[in-house]
Point group: C2
Chain length 409, copies 2
């Protein structure tokens, strides 16, 4: 939900193309342009449930790849007494399972091999929580930003949705595919871990359009386009601080509950002033189209800012170019607690090279004040480092960490 | 999960065409043939998220219509002191909301009208629980079969998943569409009801193929094909007992938890002997193809029945032609309880004209003995009468009941 107000990446490229900021007022600019090239097998004459995304690569899939309709996020805790060899063994199992399932093949010893037959663009992305580095005695290799987020005044965190030593982000176009992958990857390592939480989400939009969250707002207008210089710089680590992390990144996972009962009391104008964008088409209140760059200096004829300074996009707006991150969120809608009518919100997932430098300044501003806070409550929070990908068969996820010079000492 | 073993309806029609039972051994027969005619607007050149299913009709949609990918089942209780006028008012609201949402239009006073823009074959089906008839003082109009199912030895029912005065079955191809419809229909009547339970499910299959449940089994091979004489006879009430119910039916909702941990211990042969069908292609163990009619008398060379008499399909097999019903089930996969690895199963939803005559005999046999019971546990149970449809604008769901001669006394 944070930071709707960064200039649109496609627009930025175009500006560069056109020779600078003078072109900033030009209309146009379409959707974010996810990396379609990452889909290695898509044939529109055949069943899209058979489409696959490559597993092997310098980076893990599921980040620069276009978010499919369904996702499950699963956090695990290592059982007490787990050693480095246990973790390496687990990661080898996950690597082997994911390399097969993502290509529409059953995992080894898959007890429901028929459920593997529809990969539906399945991606499996693995992350490490802060405590994992302690368990494997590699604390000195833990990135400095890999620690629980500081407490914020807006938080009402439930421990049931927080933390975790290991993360699986499992995404696919079909819910059954997600369920099968979660099941296989969880049970194959059940001697080593316990499940800490499972969060399932979904997103829908017309082709090329921005998804809407369950408040009805477009969510994800401003994002970083895969394949751009900005993306490479802002999302992927280059290994300059910790060589093993080159091609990796970080993930922040926030479970943000929506109070739809009180949100309903707000009309479209009230909602627009809260967000800083019109509800209908997502245009910033200073502009007319969703991808117009917000102009926070624009005032109406009475001198009042068109985009209220208290609005979500004004508060989220970066103070410099480095306060940007990739958002890849999903709606959730779970069974309501007794006496309640709904249990909905957003699974906010962001990817950035450095949580402290890119995510936290924005999050602090929003926590200090954001008109939207009246209707949203963070109830879960977790951070993970996403290790690089597996370049090819024979390797395993996290190998760069465990075979780093530090690990050999 | 019950009754996989009824002869396939397409096969039955073909048998009639070919002149009788002599053709029963012939190979062939494809999927169930859901009533595609019920989709009133589907244009393959445009976004399938814009497809609609007609709302008005002699029968409610969501029963003879092909099950889309996502469903939510929501049960409500009337608040104490609710009167007949309250219930009629609620049903008029639901009728108006559903007539708009299913056609891709916002409900009146829809606070998120943008979320209504993708109907995605949305259907809204309304049901009445047993106690509703008491609340509206029309006990004498309650069908004799509308009562909680008797307790079964296999049940471990959780009250949180049982009963309800009113039911909404909301189905669509997109999860966001389902969420928005649940939200609108729930909140517009919140002064009159409380939410008793919400159960969300999904199903996926290649076009024309049978869905698989999360045990990996094909689920729904044997079903009643919409548009056939059998369907009309077995699903739709003809009003002969209660005139108001002509064009209505009943719904049994069972939440069936799967113990995947122990199911995993069974190999493919063990699973086949448990179900009575091969796992790989769903063929009965007496045949070679999914839609082959099971031959329960077939024995191997040692005289042992090919389909074990204790298997699920042998136990579920009807003893006469009237023990059949329409199944329209969905998988569920919710967040596991602390200390558990999964929380999966089947939302079994069946439709039949008479629960006592059609559903209960099969359910009793399965409860008495079914090899599959070792791995499945019913944890929720509810029954509803599904009133007829709304023939056209101006009417409301349940009108036939409330304007029946009995109601006028």
């Amino acid at each position: 939900m944070a930071d709707r107000s960064q200039p649109h990446p496609a627009r930025l490229s175009r500006r560069r193309l056109l020779g600078g900021a003078a072109a900033a007022g030009a209309a146009g600019a379409a959707g974010i342009g996810w990396g379609a090239a990452a889909v290695t097998h898509r044939d529109h004459d055949r069943d899209p449930g058979l489409d696959t995304v490559a597993f092997y690569g310098a980076k893990q899939a599921g980040i620069a790849t276009e978010p499919p309709l369904h996702a499950a996020f699963v956090a695990f805790d290592l059982k007490p007494g787990s050693r480095r060899e246990d973790v390496i063994g687990l990661l080898k199992i996950w690597t082997d399972d994911a390399s097969r399932l993502t290509q529409g093949k059953p995992a080894l010893a898959d007890t429901e091999p028929e459920l593997a037959a529809r990969p539906a663009r399945l991606t499996v992305t693995v992350g490490f929580g802060p405590e994992l580095f302690t368990a494997v005695a590699l604390e000195d290799q833990r990135p400095h930003w890999l620690k629980p987020l500081p407490p914020f005044g807006i938080d009402k965190l439930d421990a049931a949705w927080c933390g975790g030593d290991l993360l699986l982000q499992i995404c696919a176009e079909e819910a059954t595919t997600v369920s099968h992958a979660v099941r296989v990857l969880s049970k194959h390592v059940k001697s080593l871990v316990t499940v800490r939480w499972v969060q399932r989400g979904f997103r829908n939009a017309a082709r090329g359009q921005t998804m809407r969250n369950l408040m009805g707002s477009v969510d994800g207008t401003v994002n970083i386009a895969p394949g751009t210089v900005d993306f490479d710089r802002l999302v992927w680590d280059d290994g300059s601080s910790r060589p093993w992390l080159a091609g990796g990144t970080s993930m922040v996972m926030r479970r943000i509950a929506m109070n739809l009962e009180t949100w309903d009391e707000l009309d479209a104008e009230g909602r627009a002033l809260t967000i800083g964008r019109t509800v209908e088409d997502g245009a910033p209140l200073s502009g007319t189209r969703e991808f117009d760059v917000p102009d926070f200096a624009a005032v109406d004829r009475y001198g009042i800012p068109k985009i209220p300074p208290s609005s979500h996009i004004a508060r989220a707006h970066r103070t410099h170019d480095g306060e940007r991150f990739l958002r890849r969120g999903y709606n959730y809608d779970d069974a309501p607690a007794p006496g309640h009518m709904s249990n909905s919100g957003l699974l906010f997932a962001s990817f950035q090279r450095d949580i402290d430098a890119q995510f936290l300044p924005v999050q602090r501003r929003l926590a200090d004040f954001d008109a939207l806070n009246q209707w949203t409550t963070p109830v879960g929070s977790a951070v993970f480092v996403i290790p690089p990908g597996v370049p090819g068969p024979g390797g395993y996820l996290g190998q760069q960490l465990f075979e780093s010079a530090a690990a050999q000492r």
